[in-house]
């Protein structure tokens, strides 16, 4: 095994490995310098170095790896938000299926009343998961649909109500106000709701994910994250920057387009994939 001195050059190479995972420059610098602390000038093998880097990433990510918390509240209201195309609707289908299998009574509300065939898409997911989908006509007010859905879910004795929303970019003030209104209306019905607000992030997204979390959190009190499309080659390194900056729980990751392609977030596996441990 060839060993190399952990010097400035080596550290720069490691920084670049992390930057190439979408971690961002600042966080990559912090992670490598934490990892190098007390080890500078030591002779190490490539495997050892990668392992140390993976350990450091794992250390940062462990506190945020938490499953979606379940409450005794009935119905527990789960609001799902995010930018366009990130995977909100698909993730709701997958989650509904998981909760249904766990014996929960689940209802879905098709709160994307804007995009073409968004309702039909969610209805197919509802069928796949074996869960009813409450709908409103295209163009109608998503806040009043959410309100009606809460009434229905209460009447039906549902354990969980999952509310889909239309995709919106966080810099669109009008659409963010629409989201704020959905939250306000939900709270009129139950001031402790929504009990979870999930922000769905796309793993192919770069540094803009930081702005997404910042603004969606301010507007809709995001309580946890889901990162989709980690079955591709994007490493999702921006999650490390997010953990560092916001500390929001990561509940699950999307690893495909099928109903079972939703996995718990595992910091070790994530760190391994990110640093390339075990892959030469």
């Amino acid at each position: 095994v060839t060993r190399r001195v952990l010097d400035d050059d080596m550290i720069e190479q490691l920084e670049e490995l992390l930057i190439a995972s979408d971690m961002g420059v600042d966080t990559a610098l912090r992670v490598t310098s934490n990892m190098a602390e007390g080890r500078f000038g030591k002779k190490l093998s490539t495997d050892e170095i990668k392992q140390m880097l993976a350990d450091e990433v794992t250390r940062v990510m462990e506190p945020v790896a938490k499953p979606l918390p379940l409450y005794s509240k009935r119905p527990q209201v789960v609001l799902v938000v995010g930018v366009n195309g990130s995977g909100k609707t698909t993730t709701i289908g997958k989650l509904a299926s998981q909760f249904k299998s766990a014996g929960k009574k689940v209802v879905i509300a098709a709160g994307d009343t804007f995009r073409a065939a968004a309702v039909e898409q969610l209805q197919v997911w509802g069928e796949r998961a074996g869960v009813p989908v409450l709908t409103a006509p295209e163009g109608s007010d998503p806040a009043s649909l959410a309100f009606d859905a809460m009434t229905r879910a209460q009447e039906d004795g549902a354990d969980l109500l999952m509310i889909d929303t239309a995709g919106r970019l966080q810099n669109r003030a009008d659409l963010m106000e629409e989201l704020a209104k959905i939250v306000r209306v939900i709270r009129k019905k139950d001031e402790t709701a929504p009990h979870n607000t999930l922000l769905v992030l796309d793993a192919t997204t770069g540094q803009n994910a930081l702005n997404q979390v910042e603004v969606f959190r301010n507007i809709s009190d995001v309580s946890g994250l889901v990162m989709t499309k980690l079955d591709g080659t994007a490493k999702g390194g921006v999650l490390v920057a997010l953990a560092d900056k916001f500390g929001l729980p990561i509940h699950a990751i999307g690893v495909g387009e099928q109903i079972d392609d939703l996995a718990p977030f595992d910091p070790k596996d994530f760190a391994k994939a990110l640093t390339g441990v075990g892959s030469s």
């Binding site: 190439a20 979408d22 961002g24 065939a117 969610l122 080659t233």
Partner: protein, 298 residues
């Protein structure tokens, strides 16, 4: 969130103002800041590296212009080099759609905006160029994908190929080709399912579709918020399918759009259009100056 690059550089360059020419060291110092700015804008690392090297060579030895600070001068050199890289030779809006019916194939990752962009382009071709357009969805996987295109077609007054459940993408493409010829259409657009560049089965499927219709244009539709993976996505789609251009979507967001540089640099293919919203008229032809400014955070 991002400091203005000129401001950042002015600090670096304050002490150099009186020197006659940009020395190699000065330029190096400045380009370190530029590199960070590019990476923060999601320009892929190898592309950023290559770009910095090119600018280093260009800038070193340039006489310092009296009217602006050296910092501003480097920013201008960087900006011009960016525009230079981003700009294609041809008019980005001029699609090759002579020889009716001309097929246009839309490809890309999941959720990038293919279906929406198919509708927007069809509307543009109809309204601006008076073309008779047919749209067909080859997405047999995503729930309600075909309905989505059909609804958009109805909204913009463009025909969609009737949906035949159970047909595979290659057969749908053949049917679209035939329908386009028989129906006297100028253009037929094929919207495909989202796929990962590493998914061999689905990449083969779209290659088969390509072989059936021989598209005049194959447009890679990419989310403008894409990070480091942009290089690999563009390279793989181009290598396997052969793309003729790129459409960057969600540029109405506050992303810095570094993916544009990454994809242009590695494929050499023109960026043709920019998506600026969800509505059917939110599509503009690509302007390199605007994206260059955004990438630099100015």
């Amino acid at each position: 969130m991002f400091e203005n690059l000129s401001e950042r550089l002015s600090g670096v360059f304050d002490r150099l103002t009186k020197q006659g020419a940009l020395s190699e060291e000065d330029v190096k110092t400045a380009l370190r800041e530029v590199r960070v700015a590019l990476l923060e804008a999601d320009v892929s690392l190898p592309v950023a590296r290559e770009f910095i090297k090119k600018v280093q060579d260009q800038a070193t030895g340039q006489a310092v212009t009296k009217s602006i600070t050296p910092g501003q001068q480097v920013v201008k050199i960087v900006h011009d080099a960016l525009v230079d890289t981003l700009r294609g030779e041809e008019d980005p809006g001029a699609l090759k759609i002579d020889n009716p019916p001309a097929p246009i194939l839309m490809v890309g990752l999941q959720g990038g905006g293919k279906t929406t962009t198919t509708g927007k382009l069809a509307k543009r071709l109809k309204d601006k160029e008076g073309k008779k357009v047919l749209m067909a969805s080859l997405d047999v996987y995503r729930p309600a994908a075909m309905d989505q295109l059909k609804v958009l077609g109805a909204q913009i007054g463009v025909d969609t190929l009737p949906i035949v459940p159970g047909q595979n993408p290659v057969d749908i493409a053949k049917r679209a080709k035939q329908q386009a010829a028989l129906g006297g259409y100028d253009v037929y657009m094929l919207d495909t399912a989202g796929r990962l560049q590493i998914d061999e089965v689905l990449m083969q499927e779209v290659e088969d579709v390509r072989d059936v219709v021989s598209p005049r244009e194959t447009l890679l539709v990419v989310d403008g918020l894409t990070g480091q993976v942009a290089v690999e996505v563009a390279e793989e789609f181009d290598a396997k399918i052969g793309i003729s251009g790129v459409v960057l979507t969600r540029m109405d967001g506050d992303g810095r759009g570094g993916a544009a540089l990454s994809m242009r640099a590695v494929t050499g293919k023109p960026i043709r259009f920019v998506g600026l919203g969800e509505k059917m008229d939110a599509l503009e032809t690509f302007e390199p100056d605007r994206i260059a400014g955004r990438i630099l955070g100015m």
